[in-house]
């Protein structure tokens, strides 16, 4: 594996306890991603793509193997170190948006910056810029309950890019959207990848997403069956 890789996975295995036995969600995964990639994990439900994304995002721990972000193994990270990694280096976009319901759009986008203790004035500039990227500057004061699904996903994108992370992990980002909104979201993400050089890693089985990907990794039964660069 190249040491210049942003993300490196070496013989990663993830097993879940099921009843008295175990279910192997991922088996001996070896993968690497360079800075600025626009890649996706595709495969049927249960193939392990979301699990893999969660491991890279330090939301879950692997059973075996090594996961390196910027050359640092995160497999044995403490809770605090994982939280710091997620806050500073990784942005998340979820299928169901996961916006904080009691905060306004502005506050949702501002949230990761508050955790980074960025001064208020700087935060304001960054939040407005992120909202401008996704075209939602005008509805900054609305609550998540007052906006559409497409808009909510754009807010989630703004929240993930506002801190300018190195990696954005997007788990089925278009699954709850109609075609028009799905294309709009993918256009935004593609532009951000090109303009900001952020590494995007998707998990999806949506053909609209796959169309945009520059690298497609196919998974089946927890194993990589194909890794194709377009």
């Amino acid at each position: 594996m190249s040491t210049n890789n942003l993300i490196e996975l070496h013989q990663v295995t993830k097993r879940f306890p099921v009843g008295d036995g175990e279910f192997t969600a991922l088996s001996d995964i070896n993968l690497s991603f360079s800075k600025g990639e626009f890649a996706g994990l595709i495969g049927p439900s249960g193939s392990g793509k979301t699990t893999l994304l969660n491991l890279i995002g330090a939301l879950d721990d692997s059973t075996e193997g090594e996961i390196k972000i910027n050359g640092k193994n995160i497999a044995n990270n403490s809770d605090e170190a994982s939280a710091l990694l997620r806050n500073e280096h990784i942005g998340f976009i979820f299928q169901s948006y996961n916006l904080l319901p009691v905060y306004t759009i502005y506050e949702n986008v501002e949230f990761p910056l508050i955790l980074q203790k960025i001064p208020k004035e700087d935060r304001k500039i960054m939040v407005l810029q992120a909202l401008e990227w996704v075209g939602l500057k005008d509805i900054a004061n609305k609550k998540p309950s007052q906006i559409s699904g497409g808009q909510a996903q754009r807010v989630a994108i703004a929240r993930s890019i506002v801190k300018k992370p190195e990696i954005i992990l997007a788990d089925e980002p278009t699954a709850n959207l109609d075609s028009e909104n799905a294309y709009k979201i993918m256009d935004i993400l593609k532009n951000l990848n090109e303009e900001l050089g952020i590494t995007f890693l998707f998990s999806s089985h949506d053909s609209k997403v796959i169309k945009y990907l520059k690298r497609v990794i196919s998974l089946e039964d927890g194993k990589i069956i194909n890794d194709e660069v377009k």
């Binding site: 997620r86 806050n87 500073e88 996961n98 905060y103």
Partner: protein
């Protein structure tokens, strides 16, 4: 660290305020319990302060020197419970004898108490003995007067026994009726000049006890025992404390309801806000910090309740402290021998205020923490999906 904690407080405040009606119901119940705790406790504190002051002013002064064979709780000791008085300008001797009054043809067993007319140690208006031209001037308390239909100027037959056991009787005149909240110097007794009582009974310079003013150096002979102000007030204070304890039932119930509401909110938070909890973690919170955030949310109910409760109760209790709270059972209290005024003036001390705030916040925090402990074992991925 402090910045993180402040952020948690801001987030917790925003979260609970946004929860709407549920939050306000919990806060209202807790604030009401807080108000009752403060009100009842300040009422008892006011009563205790007032009662202690009245008893010091009217009865105990700075202590009493009591003849060892005299027990004020045992009427059988009155007969022989006296001894040659101690001579000192800072003490006032009191001699107690038994007698009978015959107002309007009725017989009324009473205690006859003699005290120097020129004393100024206690508030009893003993100067009236000298100011009166009557042969046997006495003063009585308002409760004694009211209960026995006696009034100033009444002349009543008094019968007593002298030192040899011979009965004697004279017409006494009520020259003054004093108002006091201390029933132990009022009910069933009359007060007269001790010089007169000595002459009537032949018990010259004898006293049952002495009332002490200031720092009396009490090197006493074995016949006398000194009881300090604290010793004398002990029974009254423990009775007030007992009353405080028994009235705690009401606000314990209210506190319990409020704490259950907080507990319920927290259980609700853990199970219904899993997606939100997962999102906090994905955005960079540790599980510990989410646990802290939700615990602070629970404690925030108590913080807001104590702020609102204080805003209502401090001016209310302060106003009642000036105006007083009228009691309907004054006669009953007097008959029971409890020192209590017609009105009680609640006294809100900073100790009471801050200790109540401390306990409410502490209990709420503990109750808040118990359900949210589970977050530490929560699977972040499941939480993000909102899986129950």
């Amino acid at each position: 660290m402090i910045q993180d904690l402040l952020l948690n407080f801001k987030l917790a405040y925003k979260n609970i305020i946004s929860a709407g009606l549920r939050t306000w119901l919990t806060i209202t119940t807790l604030a009401f319990a807080f108000l009752l705790i403060l009100f009842f406790n300040s009422l008892y504190t006011g009563w205790e302060y007032q009662g202690v002051k009245d008893q010091i002013d009217w009865e105990f002064a700075d202590g009493q020197i009591i003849y060892k064979e005299f027990d004020k709780n045992d009427p059988f000791t009155i007969e022989s419970g006296h001894h040659q008085m101690i001579k000192n300008e800072n003490i006032a001797p009191v001699l107690i004898r038994q007698g009978n009054l015959y107002p309007q043809g009725r017989m009324l067993p009473i205690a006859i108490k003699g005290i120097p007319a020129n004393q100024s140690i206690v508030k009893l208006p003993t100067h009236l003995f000298h100011e009166s031209k009557e042969e046997f001037p006495v003063i009585i308390g308002e409760a004694m007067a009211t209960n026995n239909h006696l009034k100033k100027g009444d002349k009543i037959l008094l019968r007593w026994k002298d030192k040899n056991g011979t009965f004697d009787a004279k017409q006494i005149t009520i020259v003054g009726i004093f108002h006091t909240n201390v029933p132990t110097i009022d009910m069933g007794q009359i007060w007269m000049d001790i010089d007169l009582l000595w002459k009537m009974t032949g018990l010259e310079k004898e006293a049952s006890y002495h009332i002490v003013k200031g720092n009396y150096n009490h090197e006493l002979k074995s016949q006398w025992r000194f009881e300090s102000q604290q010793d004398l007030l002990k029974d009254f204070i423990s009775m007030v404390e007992m009353k405080k304890g028994s009235s705690a039932f009401l606000y314990i119930i209210l506190m319990f309801i409020a704490l259950i509401a907080i507990f319920d909110s927290q259980v609700f938070s853990v199970f219904k806000r899993q997606k939100e909890i997962g999102t906090y973690i994905a955005l960079g919170f540790t599980k510990k910090r989410v646990t802290l955030l939700l615990t602070i949310e629970g404690a925030m109910y108590a913080i807001l309740a104590t702020i609102i409760g204080s805003l209502i109760s401090i001016p209310l209790i302060s106003w009642l402290g000036v105006e007083g709270v009228t009691l309907s059972s004054k006669e009953q209290s007097q008959q029971m021998g409890i020192t209590i005024g017609e009105k009680l003036y609640p006294m809100l001390t900073s100790k009471l205020l801050f200790s109540s705030i401390f306990w409410i916040i502490l209990l709420s925090t503990i109750v808040s923490y118990l359900p949210v402990r589970k977050i530490a074992k929560m699977n972040t991925v499941d939480a993000l999906k909102g899986k129950k």
